[in-house]
């Protein structure tokens, strides 16, 4: 049954092959993608239950033993996030199929490549979560990024090419730095297996150790868009078609956060973790992100700046390096993936119905689209951390952990940023849902009530209900992430499972 762990990597690749071969038959392509993602969601749920019950499971690819071979490791952290990612990918896929009925550049219906690329992206995401060694993490990132480059520029409009260029170059620089970090790690220790590195890095001189830690933070910080490495994100994400932006916004930055959590905890011993640095970065990320968001006048761009701001909370949880802190970061990441994706999906429906995402030209949607208003309000309030929604659960856990650790400054910053988040969400609410349509909006096409929008709305509704479910099952989730965090803060069980000691 352990073989199930490799399935989320192999199955999407096979699906992509089939999808390429069936290029001319769109319905069959859709069937394959939906089938693959549904299967993976189900098997990953099973894996989660098994891993939570039996402990960390490791598979050695090709039968080569751990420090030499490639390990796939399923621990609670990776499987929880993988499950969340797959649920999100599934919902967005359905949304994209619904959106396909509209004739947009880059939309699913216009490009043969959409489904294969989406499946390859899925494979890359799964690989990034499951791999147990640093070099394969690099490979996973590249698989994921290659698919994302192509998805981001599908259609080839001028603004897509411009922002795609920024994104590709920035990602490439991060990848190059990652390779350099790998070279240094390998030269210093002679291994790239993360479990094996834990002991070997501990034996290195202090200066070398911290430079490796900081280099890795920079690499994953670019991917996660932390301060001061975030500037590429609000520039490149909003130009893609909504479904793709939603996946990128929800998932790709969070994978950066995941790898940061993974590498900083598993590879480094407690005494050598750069806690203070991460807390300072976390505070700066929150503030700069939310101030950027407040200044924006367009839904997707406003939300893009929020991604940056919210990354700060996750880094804050990690920076505390306590079980409660890391547990808070995990809950917050799960919540963010779902909430941020659903907000982008709602923003996409608004653009689809009103023909624009500019707040100045929107208005009165609360009366004409009450369902949409509810779908926006729930995740928006959740993002701001209003009880009893999922954001509150995450923020409460983080603030609690921060107070325990006497990190009062960063806790204070996080609370102020919450208020500003609420303010910027009100800005969207007041601009798009209240009031009347502004002048100049009359030439826009009237709201369309096609099956396409129905599919899009139901996919979004499903995702929003998952976020509500997180709030309802906050207790079990908190316990699960505390168990996950305990395995990270003291990674002995992880190391034992991978190295088979």
């Amino acid at each position: 049954m352990n073989a199930l762990i490799g399935l989320p990597i192999i199955l999407p690749l096979l699906g992509a092959a089939a999808s390429i071969a069936l290029g001319a038959h769109r319905p069959l392509q859709r069937l394959i993608s939906i089938g693959v993602l549904a299967t993976l969601t189900a098997t990953t749920a099973v894996t989660l239950v098994r891993v939570d019950r039996n402990g960390i499971t490791a598979v050695q690819v090709g039968g080569w033993e751990a420090p030499t071979g490639i390990s796939l490791v399923a621990d609670r952290l990776s499987v929880v996030l993988l499950l969340t990612a797959l649920v999100t990918l599934f919902a967005v896929l359905v949304y994209a199929v619904g959106q396909g009925s509209f004739d947009q550049p880059g939309s699913e219906a216009r490009h043969v490549g959409f489904h294969p690329l989406y499946l390859i992206l899925t494979a890359g995401v799964s690989f990034a979560f499951l791999t147990g060694d640093l070099f394969n993490l690099f490979v996973a990132f590249e698989v994921m990024l290659m698919a994302s480059y192509a998805l981001l520029t599908l259609g080839g409009r001028a603004d897509q090419v411009r922002s795609g260029m920024t994104y590709v170059v920035i990602s490439l620089i991060a990848s190059t730095l990652f390779l350099a970090a790998l070279a240094y790690v390998y030269a210093a220790t002679g291994t790239v297996n993360m479990a094996d590195l834990h002991d070997k890095i501990a034996a290195l001189p202090a200066g070398l150790r911290s430079s490796l830690a900081v280099l890795l933070i920079v690499v994953f910080g670019i991917k996660a868009a932390i301060f001061p490495l975030f500037f590429w994100l609000p520039d490149s994400y909003p130009t893609a078609p909504t479904a793709i932006t939603a996946v990128f916004a929800g998932l790709l930055t969070k994978i950066g956060v995941y790898t940061m959590i993974r590498t900083q905890t598993v590879m480094f011993t407690p005494a050598t973790r750069p806690g203070t640095l991460l807390l300072v970065v976390a505070g700066a990320t929150m503030v700069v992100g939310v101030l950027g968001a407040v200044a924006q006048n367009e839904i997707k761009r406003l939300l893009s700046f929020h991604i940056v701001s919210q990354i700060g909370y996750m880094v804050m949880g990690l920076g505390l390096f306590t079980v409660a802190g890391v547990a808070g970061a995990i809950i917050f990441t799960v919540h963010q993936i779902l909430v941020k994706t659903s907000l982008f999906l709602v923003g996409g429906i608004i653009e689809e119905k009103a023909g624009t995402g500019r707040l100045a030209r929107l208005g009165g949607l609360a009366r004409t689209e009450p369902l949409l208003a509810v779908l926006f309000l729930l995740p928006a309030l959740s993002l701001a951390g209003i009880p009893p929604l999922s954001g509150f659960v995450g923020k409460l856990a983080l603030v609690d952990a921060g107070l325990d650790d006497r990190a009062y400054v960063v806790v204070g910053v996080s609370l102020v940023v919450s208020l500003l988040t609420l303010y910027s969400m009100t800005k969207i609410w007041a601009g798009a849902f209240w009031g009347t349509r502004s002048e100049g909006a009359s030439d826009l096409p009237p709201a369309k009530g096609t099956t396409g929008t129905a599919i899009m709305t139901s996919a979004t509704a499903a995702l929003v209900s998952v976020t509500v479910a997180i709030a309802v099952f906050a207790g079990p989730l908190h316990e699960l992430s505390t168990r996950a965090a305990a395995d990270l803060v003291d990674p002995t069980p992880y190391i034992e499972a991978v190295l088979g000691r």
Partner: protein
Amino acid sequence: MRRSLIFDSTVRLVFDLAMVLSAYMLFAGHNQPGGGFVGGLVAGAAIALRFLMGDLRDVIGVVRFKPWTPLAVGLALAAGTSIWTVATGSEPLDHGAREFDVWGIGAVKVTTATVFDAGVYCIVVGLVLMILEAFADEIEPADDGEPGEVRR
């Protein structure tokens, strides 16, 4: 566009040799320098030469299929070898080897790694074809006024 006779005949000669070399590298790759990627690159370079010699239609005429067909076949082969070993109960990407006695050639050792390499080879060839197609698509309807457009 003017075609050079010397270039044309050289490419014609080199193309077949390069294809044979790429096939050799694909199969030698298990124990010697070579492998799917290197073999694929040699084949890709040969195809690119063919592209330089004529145009995209020439290349498509040589390979006789759509660029994404080898991509799909390659991906299926490479992913298939790993899921096959999972299905038979061992670790993903586990190795298997079997020797066949082929009449007239002798013992031929076939490994799962060769199948995987063949997949990689197909992916690289498919990728090269797709790149050529992407670039050639826009070159074909050449606007005479555009600066820097057709300079070959």
